[in-house]
């Protein structure tokens, strides 16, 4: 039996809207947030959709931020304003505000940026509104014929199945539900839209009943990892010198991490490109459009599943010279911009 929730049944009348919850750091949208808006804009042209950037804050939004989101491709900003909403997102504190935004503007897709509040808020929102959820997905537009809803183009999401055994294609029109997804970190185009866009404000009251309270907060040393477009994961068995020499050549936005020390941050990442060096079987949640490279030592080392590009190096070659060579090669990523 298919059960369509009352919320979504009413929502279908208002398709198609693409909602992008923005991740602000020091008052500025992150690179992956701008990329997510750009991606929304890209498919919105095909689908005839409206792109809403959702900002959650405890104060009025800065005009420069609105302009930045407009340039990235947002048609409108939806500001959820309320006490405590400037803090990092939790379902208990921010979930009701996001729910209010979704009730105001019923979505076809909700697209969280990499490194944002996707894992904190996305699954809960999907559970509440009966939506599909994709923890890491690519957004694609297609002109394939199909049973389109009125005014809705064909916008689909693709994600890996478990163990990268294949792709799962999620079409919100076909499944008759919204899809909530986390997009990979990517590079935003410089200007897709206009600076002058409207800001709609939703006044959000604090959730009733304080069930989660903050005891302490400090800067997260690994905060840059989930924002990286290119993640280089290094087997700690190769030693600290390998980490240091490889990282020394990495341009901005290419992040070199210890497979074990930063395991939690890596698990929260959705990079576009992953390079695994040494014994790094599975390091991050990538997307089908993403690329996975591996540098393995010796002929017997087992390659990660679904690796795209493989370089096998003689085990005897592992050493300072090779680490520096790898570090220098990473600088090539700088030409496209990394974050």
């Amino acid at each position: 039996m298919i059960v369509v929730s009352a919320a979504f049944a009413s929502a279908r009348r208002f398709l198609p809207n693409l909602l992008v919850p923005i991740d602000l750091r020091d008052g500025e949208p992150t690179g992956p947030s701008l990329f997510a808006v750009c991606e929304g804009r890209r498919v919105a042209h095909v689908a005839g959709a409206t792109v809403y950037a959702i900002v959650m804050s405890d104060r009025e939004i800065d005009a420069a931020v609105v302009a930045r989101l407009g340039r990235a491709g947002a048609d409108k900003v939806l500001l959820c304003e309320g006490a405590g909403l400037a803090a990092p997102a939790l379902d208990a504190t921010h979930g009701p505000a996001l729910q209010a935004a979704v009730e105001r503007v019923a979505p076809l897709l909700v697209l969280f940026p990499a490194g944002g509040a996707g894992m904190a808020l996305g699954p809960s929102l999907a559970a509440r509104i009966g939506a599909a959820f994709a923890g890491a997905a690519d957004l694609e537009a297609t002109d394939a014929a199909g049973p389109l809803a009125e005014g809705v183009g064909r916008v689909i999401l693709r994600r890996w199945r478990g163990r990268r055994a294949g792709y799962r294609r999620l079409d919100p029109v076909e499944i008759e539900r919204p899809v909530i997804a986390i997009l990979p970190a990517g590079v935003a185009a410089q200007q897709l839209g206009r600076e002058e866009i409207d800001v709609d404000v939703i006044a959000c009251a604090p959730p009733k009943g304080n069930t989660i309270s903050e005891l302490a907060s400090e800067p997260d040393d690994d905060a840059h990892i989930p924002l990286a477009r290119v993640l280089v994961a290094v087997d700690p068995a190769l030693g600290p010198e390998a980490m240091a020499r490889i990282a020394a050549g990495a341009p901005a936005g290419v992040v070199v991490v210890d497979r074990d020390r930063s395991a939690a941050a890596i698990a929260a990442s959705t990079p576009e490109i992953v390079i695994a060096i040494g014994d790094v079987a599975w390091v991050a949640m990538g997307t089908p459009r993403g690329r996975l490279g591996a540098i393995l030592f010796g002929d017997d080392a087992v390659a990660p599943p679904a690796v795209d590009v493989l370089w096998r190096v003689p085990a005897a070659a592992a050493g300072a010279e090779l680490w520096s060579e790898i570090g220098k090669a990473l600088s090539a990523f700088a030409s496209r911009g990394a974050s």
Binding site: V3, P123, A126, A132, G135, A136, I175, T211, L310, R336
Partner: protein, 226 residues
């Protein structure tokens, strides 16, 4: 306190008796809490998929429970969350721990569905966990560029991103390991609304080959090719 660790059914094959890495972290955090608590391992699946429950038994949990329901492998996270929430309510769970993205498809969405059906708090990506008092836990989680210590009222569902820094040494079990209890959810009391969301998404084969290169520059160029 009643602590429950939700385990996933391992995929068939050579790793059928392995505990998923993410689940192992959740189990380690639960066992590390010590104290006078009951720790239960819970699995939704068939008797053929109970390998991870046997590993939890060996690790020292007090109780092991398998939820037997029709076609859980073919259900989406909404249905799995609802089924497990029914079982968790019967067990009387106050604190529920799961792995991050621990379901077969790597979504990490079932814990949020469980929390919704239990009316529990939900916190993703917990790295440290400590019991403060009956009904309250302290956790450390990252997000929005901050690393925060939070006080969370129970009931709560937490996804665990890191194992304990110093795993506690548990004394060897005295007596037999607990038998696997089965909660059947095919009785009329447990009305499950089966939904279809993900499962209607189409499957495509992963048809990419491996490109072998002989220099690191070629590797970088091949990865960044568009």
């Amino acid at each position: 306190m009643n602590i429950v660790v939700c385990l996933r059914a391992p995929p068939p094959g050579p790793e059928a008796d392995a505990l998923a890495g993410a689940d192992a972290l959740a189990l380690a955090q639960a066992l590390n809490l010590g104290g006078d608590h009951q720790t239960t391992a819970l699995l939704g699946g068939t008797s053929m998929e109970a390998g991870s429950l046997r590993l939890a038994q060996a690790a020292g949990v007090d109780r092991v429970v398998r939820v037997a329901a029709d076609d859980m492998a073919g259900s989406d996270f909404h249905t799995i969350g609802q089924l497990l929430a029914i079982a968790l309510r019967r067990i009387g769970a106050e604190l529920v721990l799961t792995g991050v993205r621990s379901d077969d498809e790597g979504l990490g969405a079932a814990p949020a569905a469980i929390a919704r059906h239990l009316g529990a708090n939900y916190v993703a990506g917990v790295e440290e966990l400590a019991l403060v008092s009956a009904g309250t836990v302290d956790v450390v989680a990252r997000g929005g560029g901050r690393k925060r210590r939070l006080r969370v009222k129970l009931p709560a569902v937490l996804t665990i991103a890191r194992g304990p820094a110093a795993p506690a040494q548990r004394p060897p079990r005295t007596g037999a390991a607990p038998a696997i209890e089965v909660i059947p959810l095919s009785d009329p009391e447990a009305t499950v609304v089966r939904r279809r969301t993900e499962l209607l998404g189409r499957l495509d084969p992963a048809s990419r080959g491996v490109e072998t290169v002989t220099t690191v520059a070629a590797l970088v160029a091949a990865l960044d090719r568009r």
